[in-house]
């Protein structure tokens, strides 16, 4: 395959970025999107040029490191797929592919296609945990948890924290991420003790990080490589409202 790649280049967070075009020939249909970029970088090195910096790690769709907007779609046009699991057979020979970083004010660009997603960590630090000391846990089977609840929590916990929800949202809202993190714990009996505080604090941190507001149109869930449901957003809306009301009336 032969491709024209239109790639965003930016030297640093405060530098001005712009698109750069490259032609890449001999791309295998079986290679992944990142392997195609590896190939481009080898070509650039051969020409004495600086390779394109992009984030990637596990390359099997679970670590959530890769973060490209491909032809306007976070992780590319395929559903339920991370960039590293997107294969070149999904593109046409001769196609022009536009590659951009995940764009959001809360995700400043580090270099080229690499963005800083530490805001997600701060959201988790503000409440995405159950406060249990190592060694103080009761037996694993002490609290039965219905399979339905366990499965539901698992669906939420499947979030890989890649940030595609933010990148695909026209408002750069982080509600899908935050709500999945909160719902995972709020759905389990172990998470009940801190449920209210969790909802309030995580939302507060999310707001402070500069994410936009959820408009309920579901682009996040459509772009999510793990198909996280909008239900969790509804649940966080509910949990947050309840927590706030309780606070007012207590």
């Amino acid at each position: 395959m032969k491709l024209t790649l239109k790639i965003w280049r930016q030297n640093g967070p405060s530098a001005n970025g712009s698109f750069e075009s490259h032609t890449l020939d001999g791309v295998s249909e079986d290679s992944s999107f990142l392997e195609m970029l590896d190939q481009l970088n080898e070509q650039l090195l051969g020409e004495g040029k600086e390779p394109v910096a992009f984030d990637h790690d596990c390359r099997e769709g679970i670590c959530g490191t890769c973060s490209l907007t491909i032809n306007g779609h976070a992780h590319g046009p395929e559903d339920s797929t991370t960039t590293c699991q997107l294969h070149m057979r999904k593109f046409r020979d001769g196609e022009t592919v536009t590659i951009e970083p995940f764009r959001a004010n809360a995700f400043p660009i580090v270099r080229d296609l690499i963005v800083d997603r530490s805001a997600f960590d701060r959201i988790v630090q503000s409440g995405g945990f159950i406060s249990v000391r190592t060694g103080s846990a009761p037996d694993g089977n002490a609290i039965p948890i219905s399979k339905v609840d366990a499965d539901n929590a698992m669906d939420a916990a499947a979030c890989i924290g890649c940030g595609a929800c933010v990148a695909s949202c026209k408002n750069a809202s982080a509600m899908l991420f935050t709500s999945a993190k909160a719902a995972h714990l709020n759905l389990l009996p172990q998470g009940q003790a801190e449920k209210d505080e969790r909802a309030i604090n995580m939302v507060k941190t999310m707001d402070e990080a500069g994410f936009g507001n959820c408009r309920n149109y579901g682009e996040c869930s459509a772009a999510c490589p793990k198909d996280i449901s909008l239900d969790y957003i509804a649940k966080l809306n509910r949990d947050h409202a309840k927590a706030k009301l309780k606070k007012i009336f207590s």
Partner: protein, 638 residues
């Protein structure tokens, strides 16, 4: 080199208890005076940093990823073992211990493995309390499955992403400590060297991958939780960033490296498709519960559509060779059988390096929907990567490097030969011997981090006292300068070849000569080729850009440089270990029908390598493994 394993006195089952009692404690009020560095934030590092922070120590945790939640523990799919015996099927701590030692082909330390089995039950409790959404039965209790050659159901799992869920548990505990200020997290930092003062580990040098800054960090103890070295093969199931630099640099500073030749090949990976390939993707071994492995009886049929090959023309080689374990034979055995079949020319798919994993029988027995429910995500992943639908035609699988049992030598306290430098998880060598059983890596990482290190590091600190050296001290400066010097060396030769091309070539050498089967002449050849590769690397490498900013090529060049040196060490170890055991298969040592033969007389030891300086041959030491509770037996899965 002092290789005293520090195994506590007493009967096996009391050793850990005795040891905890005889360990010195750090006064709670004094804990905040101690600084501990944790390198790596996977299951071992994340759980250790969280727990130590919780205890009151000042912890600095480093990872090369952009967030601690992405460490490669995340990729483990299958599950985590624990001797809970919830299924009432005859499991016990002793059985898990025995299975692990036997699975490791009797090359692990009894006392460590027993402790691992003891801790396994606490791990499940801890993780459940953290909110890890383990699979459950309709009655609300935890579900189990049997996994990777075990005859009891002791594996706990969270759909196909047990690793991610356990890591998120550790990460959430870590996040809580970060929020409270007990742990300072340093992301996008890569450890480049270990600082020792009077022989004790007192700090590390890191590169800030964003700014390019080289910084020194000092502490009272250093914990290396930096994972395995599978990427020395270039193609492996490891993440692209996994590297040996932290452990290899510590090795250069005096930490003995044990059993580097013990590498594990995972039998169920998606075969290589072409030159572009940058990694191999593993599919959970649980697939073997319902899939049957076969190749055609004769070479001529290999090119045919598998559905057109008649039943009697298929060789279900695992079922044929290992009737009692069949398709569930341990990883090393299954892998090697697949290689043999391909070596005979009966491999399938591009390049002839693949065997079929066929679900047709299970689908006709259980229905497609049952199979879809069990493995839907894996079938989907397979289709995404290969473009083939495994419901209609058998999957193609081939073994790939997956886990490395070798690592820095540690004693019972997980302390390396450098006092104050502790090594946890896959980075150490201790628990899996020559082969690791499925679902045991997660168990070990968490056992080390949550339940072992808090005691043993406390014991060390209580005995050595607080008082970190200053980051401006002369010993620190010296190491810092040497790291900077090395960086400028990597940047200076403006040759023609990228670090990736060297890495690829190294991988090819390693896979060919030190892969699934090894022999003396091949290993010698490999050592020679690696030395040539190193010379070429030093002259002909190109790294564009500067060192004082984000520079991905520079990062890779440094890692590849260490892989080259380490690859040579691995080959040396494989050459010296003149026996077949576990993941280490020497062609010279096999029975007539191709089974590995161990040499307990001469090799019932851990081989520990001591670094002797640049360009000098390392020295091989031995820690003899004493089996007081288990009788060494031939590992048979027939």
């Amino acid at each position: 080199m002092n290789l005293d394993p520090q195994i506590p006195e007493g009967p096996l089952s009391d050793k850990w208890d005795n040891h905890r009692f005889s360990s010195k404690l750090v006064n709670p009020a004094n804990k905040r005076k101690y600084r501990i560095i944790v390198v790596g934030s996977g299951l071992a590092g994340g759980s250790a940093a969280a727990t130590l922070g919780e205890l009151g120590y000042q912890v600095d945790c480093f990872c090369y990823q952009d967030t601690p939640r992405r460490a490669h523990s995340i990729a483990a799919q299958g599950g985590i073992n624990a001797a809970k015996n919830y299924q009432n099927d005859g499991d016990s701590i002793h059985r898990l211990f025995y299975d692990t030692v036997k699975g490791g082909d009797f090359r692990s330390r009894e006392a460590n493995v027993y402790r691992l089995a003891q801790n396994s039950t606490n791990i499940i409790d801890q993780c459940v309390a953290q909110g890890v959404p383990f699979a459950r039965e309709y009655g609300g209790l935890l579900a189990n499955r049997s996994f990777g050659g075990a005859q009891v159901s002791r594996t706990f799992y969270a759909r196909g992403q047990t690793g991610q869920q356990l890591l998120l548990g550790a990460y959430s505990a870590l996040s809580r400590q970060i929020a409270s200020g007990q742990v300072k997290m340093h992301t996008r930092h890569e450890m480049l060297d270990l600082v020792t003062v009077d022989g004790h580990a007192k700090g590390i040098i890191t590169r800030n991958l964003v700014t390019g800054g080289t910084d020194a960090w000092t502490a009272d103890a250093v914990l290396l939780c930096t994972g395995g070295y599978g990427n020395v093969y270039y193609l492996s199931t490891n993440a692209a960033g996994c590297n040996v630099t932290a452990t290899y640099r510590a090795h250069r500073r005096g930490a003995g490296f044990a059993n580097p030749c013990f590498t594990q090949i995972h039998p169920t990976c998606i075969p290589v498709a072409g030159d572009h390939q940058s990694k191999l993707t593993l599919m959970s071994e649980s697939l073997r519960n319902d899939g049957r492995v076969w190749v055609p009886n004769d070479k001529e049929s290999c090119g045919l559509n598998p559905n057109d090959i008649k039943e009697e023309l298929r060789d279900y080689f695992l079922e044929r060779k290992y009737p009692s374990f069949g398709n569930l034979a341990p990883r090393d055995i299954s892998s090697r059988s697949a290689k043999e079949a391909c070596d005979e020319g009966r491999g399938v798919g591009p390049g002839g390096r693949g065997v079929y994993l066929d679900f047709a029988d299970s689908i006709s027995r259980l229905g497609e929907s049952a199979i879809r429910e069990r493995y839907g995500n894996l079938f989907q992943m397979y289709e995404r990567i290969t473009g083939e639908n495994a419901y209609n035609r058998p999957m193609r699988i081939y073994p790939a490097i997956h886990y490395t049992m070798g690592g820095l030598w540690v004693d019972y306290n997980l302390q390396s030969t450098v006092p104050g430098c502790f090594v946890l998880g896959e980075a150490n060598f201790s628990d899996h011997g020559a082969n690791r059983l499925g679902a045991s890596a997660l168990m070990q990482g968490l056992s080390d981090g949550y339940f072992v290190i808090p005691y043993t590091v406390g014991n060390y600190l209580a005995r050595s006292g607080a008082g970190s050296i200053s980051p401006d001290g002369p010993e620190v400066k010296e190491v810092l300068e040497s790291v900077k010097e090395r960086t400028s060396q990597l940047l200076s030769p403006q040759g023609k070849r990228s670090s990736r091309s060297y890495h690829k070539e190294l991988g090819q050498i390693m896979w060919e000569f030190a892969g699934m089967a090894r022999n003396e002449s091949g290993l010698k050849k490999a050592i020679g080729q690696i030395q040539d590769l190193r010379d070429d690397f030093n002259k002909n490498l190109i790294v564009p850009g500067e060192g004082d900013r984000l520079n991905v090529e520079l990062e890779r060049a440094g890692r590849v440089r260490d892989f080259i040196d380490f690859g040579e060490l691995l080959c040396r170890d494989a050459l010296e270990r003149n026996e077949s055991c576990g993941g280490h298969f020497r062609e010279e040592h096999q029975t007539a029908d191709g089974e590995a033969t161990r040499d307990d007389e001469n090799f019932a030891h851990a081989a520990v390598w001591e670094y002797k300086g640049e360009g000098k041959e390392p020295t091989r030491h031995k820690e003899d493994l004493k089996y007081e509770n288990i009788e060494l037996a031939v590992r048979s899965y027939k």
